[in-house]
């Protein structure tokens, strides 16, 4: 079986992720036990073909081990006020240390999240506590999305976004 084509993300979904929205990262070990953590930040390229999520090492030990072992990752991006959500998956995620560029991404992300979470009724002080980190503890996880799914709550949640892959089922 040849490698499936990369999913095509709509411009507005890419824009949603680029704005900075809630990001949850998951993987799984060989015994099929899932691991998971909220990311400290996230970004995606303009064409939607390369995503980066940031994890705190001390909060994500098992998750980082699982990603390192299998390359598997599932990431959900959610806009809190609208519940609009996108799930990206990859089999080839890898980790790297962060640098000053990443620090700027994380700072922008925090500002965006303070606003978005305030929209659903929580003060910025809560968001800052939730996303508080020491940059030395943060690791970047990079991947090219191999699959993308509409994750907005409802009966269509889980439907693949890429028409080319729609026939494969999820």
């Amino acid at each position: 079986m040849s490698a499936p084509p990369a999913p095509v993300l709509s411009a507005d979904l890419i824009a949603m992720v680029q704005r900075g929205v809630s990001t949850i990262v998951s993987s799984c070990d060989a015994a099929l036990r899932p691991s998971m953590m909220r990311a400290m930040g996230s970004s995606i390229t303009d064409d939607g073909r390369f995503a980066t999520v940031y994890l705190s090492r001390k909060q994500s030990r098992q998750l980082l081990q699982d990603i390192a072992a299998s390359g598997r990752v599932a990431v959900v991006f959610t806009h809190p006020a609208s519940n609009r959500a996108l799930q990206l998956k990859s089999l080839q995620a890898r980790t790297r240390n962060t640098d000053a560029t990443d620090q700027a991404v994380l700072a922008r992300y925090l500002v965006a999240m303070e606003t978005e979470i305030a929209e659903v009724g929580f003060p910025p002080v809560l968001t800052r506590a939730m996303l508080a980190h020491d940059i030395a503890d943060v690791v970047a996880v990079e991947f090219e999305p191999a699959e993308a799914f509409d994750q907005t709550p409802g009966p269509k949640a889980g439907a693949p976004l890429d028409a080319v892959r729609a026939g494969d089922g999820t």
């Binding site: 990262v25 959500a85 506590a129 949640a157």
Partner: protein, 446 residues
């Protein structure tokens, strides 16, 4: 690492901040999904709302391991729960209380039209991790709850009548729990309806209004014997309108409006109904509500369940306390009734009673009143005993659990609301007196 218990992280399970679940397919593909509702079942179990046949569903059926991430809504500390899927419940107390709660969450998050509870997925909690971070200071623990339960217990243990028991309970709710709108309802086990016997905080008392078992938060709490707690306005379930319409469902074949309006808030934002259970029987429901969101947390539920337990025991005691065996001998001197006659009409079909044009009461309480006024007009009697009512086959009181005290109290309160001309007053344990200020003209209608 610090390992908290599930009880310690209950604030994270109130639905203020959505939880996230990670699952894995049989081939190891992970999946992440938001969960509307995580319900504390007991120290070792949580239940998650199952709403859609989605990837999470497929995964847990194939591989029961899951991971749940929750956030403390005040400190922003993360907790990660390692859980294992056990079973799905599609009926019963857990399912029904989650269904009611979900309706509130759904309307709060603007997802009312897509949220339906298919089942309650029960998971064993295998481990809870408190994650390192920079949490905010925890708010001081709420104090005074045990003291509230103590005050209620003290007040209830001083009571010598059902009337006092109900008043003491409502007073505790308003004095110590900050409750402004409350109702106490008793179950009619024969008709499977709950009738309001006391309330506070409403424009009209609603005493005598009825709700069918199974209808609305009150009816579901009684049917499922479980507390039902809603934290947000519930347009999805239309609980309050369900109650209103259920009042009309049992209208008798009379072209008369014999419904006492349900007194509840038009636009409740928080509601909590707790069954009153004693000796394994449901006696009624304690119901509190508020026009504001998130007024009743899990601690309020704990408190109200404890109070309802005391209340149930007290009600049972008042109903079953020994009564004098002899019939009432001496007639207390009653002032003669003077003035123009009051017309009292009785409709045999449902034992409804009208005084003049005003509807008074129906059902067993109506039949009791009819017996009293007939005795009064035919024999001039004003003194009566509970015992003779129990022995009267015409009243059709069930052998056990007749709730006679509650029905007499209901009648007494309805009469009091109607006016001063006809009243009943307790004159001792198991005894009461009919007090009439005008001559009565009885009319049997069909």
């Amino acid at each position: 690492m610090n390992k908290p218990t599930l009880g310690e992280i209950r604030p994270c399970l109130e639905g203020l901040i959505p939880a996230v679940i990670a699952t894995a397919a049989a081939d190891g593909t992970p999946n992440v999904a938001y969960i509307s509702q995580v319900c504390f079942v007991d120290e070792d179990h949580v239940a998650l709302s199952f709403q859609f046949f989605n990837k999470t569903r497929a995964n847990i059926l194939a591989n029961p391991h899951a991971s749940l991430l929750v956030l403390h809504p005040q400190t922003a500390q993360f907790f990660r729960l390692h859980i294992r899927y056990l079973r799905t419940e599609t009926q019963g107390p857990l399912f029904e209380s989650m269904k009611a709660q979900l309706a509130g969450i759904a309307s709060h998050t603007g997802m009312a039209n897509v949220f339906m509870l298919r089942g309650s997925d029960v998971y064993a909690v295998q481990e809870i991790e408190a994650l390192e971070g920079s949490p905010l200071p925890a708010p001081p623990p709420r104090c005074g709850m045990l003291n509230t339960v103590r005050r209620c217990s003290e007040r209830l243990s001083r009571c010598t009548s059902l009337d006092e028991v109900l008043n003491a309970t409502l007073a505790t709710l308003t004095d110590f729990m900050g409750v402004q709108h409350a109702m106490l309802l008793m179950l009619d086990p024969v008709n499977q309806r709950l009738y309001t016997v006391a309330s506070c905080g409403y424009a009209t008392s609603g005493v005598g209004s009825e709700i069918a078992v199974g209808h609305g938060v009150i009816g579901v709490a009684a049917r499922e014997r479980t507390p039902v707690r809603i934290q947000h306005m519930t347009t999805a379930y239309l609980y309050s309108s369900a109650i209103r319409s259920s009042l009309q469902a049992n209208t008798p074949d009379l072209a008369l409006d014999v419904d006492i309006p349900y007194p509840g808030l038009r636009e409740p934002h928080s509601q909590l109904a707790v069954p009153i259970v004693s000796a394994a029987r449901v006696l009624g429901v304690v119901f509190v509500e508020s026009p504001h969101d998130m007024q009743f947390g899990f601690e309020d539920e704990d408190m109200l369940v404890a109070i309802a337990g005391h209340l149930g025991a007290a009600i049972d005691l008042m109903q079953s306390a020994s009564e004098p065996q002899e019939t009432v001998a001496a007639e207390p001197s009653a002032p003669p009734a003077l003035g123009s006659a009051l017309q009292v009409r009785h409709y045999r079909a449902n034992d409804s009673i009208f005084i003049g044009d005003d509807y008074l009461i129906k059902g067993v309480a109506g039949a009791i009143f009819w017996k009293l006024v007939r005795n009064y007009t035919e024999q001039g009697r004003t003194a009566f005993s509970n015992r003779e009512l129990r022995l009267d086959p015409d009243l059709g009181l069930p052998d056990v659990t007749d709730n006679l005290e509650a029905r007499l109290l209901l009648l007494q309160r309805r009469l009091k609301e109607h006016g001063p001309l006809v009243r009943i007053e307790k004159t001792g344990r198991g005894r009461f007196q009919l007090m009439v200020q005008r001559p009565l003209e009885l009319q049997e209608a069909s």
